[in-house]
């Protein structure tokens, strides 16, 4: 039977040899050591892993376990190499970038903040009383939709401001996305020091929130949003 190499993460430790848990499909976790770091993988019997909840959780559980031992550069779900030679090839090719990623994320975790509203902004933006009876009315209607949307984005920023203001001292880097077309109006990822996790949550919990939205805090995550092998992608 052909076996493939399912990759979970790179960790900056060499003294890790065995693990208490299995990986995707309960496969044994293995270590490929290269210079100053280790690639964590397991052997699986398929080249294509279906996106099943069980497998996603197994992947994530491996990363959570690794986070307790070391800094972790997480791989995207279902990254599968086809031979052991490709492990070495990968490390050879990306050694500098792996080291640079470790520098960027050392001692940190990622926290997620999502803001959800009860009603789609896009629906709300379309609510106005002008009928599409002619070209002029149509243009007025579209203009009104545009201004409603613009106002809503400003509203989103107003909602987020106190949250960001409360955590900015803790944040090393962030990635933010505003969304005017759905229930999740804001999706933020924040890189913070591991020791500041509780403080981060506390800052958000202590805020008074509006009646019309919810704040979801998640984490700690491995720094998924702040690692890359692509120089064009911003860390």
């Amino acid at each position: 039977m052909i076996e493939y190499y399912y990759i979970y993460a790179v960790i900056n430790k060499l003294d890790v040899n065995s693990f208490d848990i299995g990986g995707v499909k309960e496969a044994q976790l293995l270590v490929y050591k290269y210079k100053d770091y280790s690639l964590i993988y397991s052997l699986i019997d398929t080249r294509k892993l279906e996106t099943e909840y069980k497998y996603l959780m197994q992947h994530e559980e491996v990363l959570e376990m690794l986070m307790e031992k070391s800094d972790v550069i997480p791989f995207s779900f279902s990254t599968i190499l086809l031979s052991e030679a490709s492990l070495e090839k990968f490390c050879n090719k990306y050694n500098d970038k792996i080291l640079s990623n470790f520098e960027n994320i050392s001692g940190t975790v990622e926290m997620g903040v999502k803001i959800l509203i009860s009603k789609n902004i896009s629906d709300e933006c379309k609510e106005n009383d002008i009928e599409e009876s002619n070209g002029y009315s149509y243009m007025i209607k579209k203009f009104k939709e545009f201004t409603n949307k613009k106002n809503k984005i400003e509203e989103i920023k107003q909602k987020i401001y106190p949250i960001e203001n409360s955590i900015y001292k803790l944040v090393i880097k962030d990635k933010k996305k505003y969304n005017e077309n759905g229930k999740i109006i804001f999706n933020g990822a924040y890189l913070i020091e591991k020791e500041n996790m509780d403080l981060f949550r506390e800052c958000i919990n202590n805020l008074e929130h509006g009646e019309d939205f919810e704040v979801m805090v998640s984490g700690p995550w491995p720094p998924y949003s702040f690692v890359s092998l692509d120089e064009r992608r911003e860390y």
Partner: protein
């Protein structure tokens, strides 16, 4: 909707999908090309369609 702050260490599927499928290290096919006609690497980009279906399914439920 309430003004409750939902604090979740429990990994929701949405958060999992958001990170595991869209972020993290992605190896591109350039490792493949350098080995003559032998593909040494497979990255699950084909999963995107499935992922979107799953997102829809879970967000609806």
């Amino acid at each position: 909707m309430s003004n409750e702050v939902i604090e979740q260490k429990d990994t929701t599927l949405l958060e999992l999908l958001d990170r595991l499928l869209n972020k993290g290290i992605v190896i591109k096919g350039d490792l493949t090309i350098s080995v003559a006609n032998v593909d040494l690497i497979y990255v699950g980009l084909g999963l995107i369609v499935t992922a979107v279906e799953n997102i829809n399914k879970y967000t609806e439920s």
